[in-house]
């Protein structure tokens, strides 16, 4: 790529980044300018992608079908037939835009209803696909199969049959871990029982324990989210202080 163009591209990106970051100090006109510029460009890109990424390959091409013409014999071979009836989808999709008319805005619910209908029809099976294996894996064994040792012995240096024997056993430490897993999931689930009053020490205790254990989950989500957000900030710093400065050095320092 042309080095001068590349530098300008990086420079403009850096200016836009700094413009948006100006809101960290306080809301400025500079920030609002770049905010609107971003919204406008992103909206424009969505309309570019409308044909390029979606309607052309998923609607037009499938409607017209595809054929390969042999460059030597000039004979056309059909790869896929065209489904002209897809043309009907355009007016149905455009019904969504009637939401802005007073008299016919009810018709905008037809395309939305079709999409929501598809989504809701899928829930029946996908629910099991997603949760079946998870429910199964939540049923952890909690009774140890051996008490030879409290923890699983180190086995990497042992012969293969002994390794296999050790791998097949459930040692007390693992059983305790599994029990904690089962208690955690039951207690956390009990927090979501709204069908009846949580009365009695057991139910109340389970509910409270569930709330604490859910906090452990939230803590993990928080910690992991913090990593993600910081990395995005680090990436911007890299964009400004490494990529842009490198290119500036190449442009003006000859390096």
């Amino acid at each position: 790529m042309n080095e001068t163009f590349f530098w300008w591209k990086l420079t403009i990106g850096v200016i836009a980044t700094i413009g948006l970051y100006s809101v960290l100090y306080r809301e400025t006109k500079l920030y609002r300018f770049f905010e609107h510029l971003f919204l406008g460009l992103a909206a424009g890109f969505t309309l570019v992608a409308l044909w390029k990424e979606t309607l052309k390959p998923l609607w037009w091409d499938k409607m017209t079908g595809s054929a390969t013409i042999d460059p030597i014999t000039n004979v056309s071979t059909m790869d896929a037939p065209g489904y002209w009836v897809y043309g009907f989808l355009l007016p149905i999709g455009l019904m969504g835009y009637l939401v802005f008319t007073k008299r016919h805005n009810w018709m905008s619910r037809i395309p939305i209803g079709v999409i929501l209908g598809f989504w809701s029809g899928q829930q029946v099976q996908i629910w099991w696909n997603r949760w079946g294996a998870q429910i199964y894996s939540s049923m952890q064994p909690v009774w140890p199969t051996t008490t030879d040792s409290f923890t699983r012995p180190y086995s990497a240096d042992l012969p293969a049959p002994e390794q296999a024997y050790i791998a097949a056993q459930l040692y007390p430490s693992q059983a305790i871990s599994n029990l904690i897993f089962v208690i955690t999931i039951l207690a956390a689930l009990s927090y979501f029982f709204f069908s009846f009053d949580m009365k009695g020490r057991l139910l109340k205790g389970s509910n409270t324990l569930g709330r604490w254990l859910l906090m452990i989950g939230f803590g993990a989500i928080f910690g992991s989210t913090v990593m993600a957000r910081f990395v995005l900030e680090i990436d911007r710093m890299s964009y400004i202080f490494v990529e842009w400065m490198d290119q500036t050095g190449k442009m003006f320092g000859g390096g």
């Binding site: 100090y25 390969t68 696909n129 997603r130 294996a133 998870q134 990593m227 995005l232």
Partner: protein
Amino acid sequence: MSKPEKSFWEKAQAIDRRVLYAVLIVCTAISLFFKTEIPVNPDDSSKDLYVSLMTIDPNKTVLIESDWTNSTRGESAGHFEALMRILMNRNIKFVLYSIADPQAPQVARDALLRIQEERKAQGLKVYEPWVDYLDLGYFPNAEGHLQAVGNNIRTAWGGRKERDEAGVERDVFTSPVLSGVRVVGDASLLIVCSASATIDIAVERLYGKVPLGFMVTGVMGPNALPYYQARQIVGMGVGLKGVYDVEYMMTYGVNYRVEGTNKPKVSYREESVTIPPVTEGTTFDRGARYFLPLHVALALMILAIILGNVAMFASRKKRVVA
């Protein structure tokens, strides 16, 4: 009437947010300039993902669902670049598609181009569209699309045209990349490189039909963990730690003992698996560059939380004493 002067701890509780912002910017920016290799113990999920990628049949096609945009470049680009390097090193054909965002295909194309240029400069094989990989673009209805792929990949992607080596538009199933794929399970792996809930859609629609692997952002990591525990996915890299784990394993291998040492740098629970280090092309890149700044930022975060709490207790105690 003059206000009573604030104590040190009261001041420590009320540091201006802009000071915190400035400290974060300065600390992370400075640490970007220190290039150090940080030893790590890769997560089990990262090891499983890497071992899967390095042991799949090189003659089978890998499907890549690229569902990230530049908004998560810091993490997702690292995942995607490492994935490209691994597949290209192993000469594995792949198909790219996106279901999360109309920008996603273009971002993936740009990242792919970067790796192509890097490999070209290193004198390595450059992947050719149509022959080595296919770029199918964007499918807006994620749920319906993956459902159709699971049902019959040939009809779900049939009629989709790409240009062949001669520049002629042809059905994608006539390309060398997809010609051997009759059902989705004919692909060796589907890697979802995602910054959004499309991981859930993939499990819901494709679990059991094709082995799934995830490369996700830190935000999506906790959501994906239950899938990994239930063995619904073969492995996953989470966030920047996941990127660095993969780069580290590319550099040092898995269960691989360097002569003269008795222990591998990265050990794997299955002793029979030995993966030597990747010798061609780049291994340490974005993950390695951002890992030290991440340490600094996380340390700053922990310090900020501790400071806020210590200051709160100290000023409260002082008030009680007073």
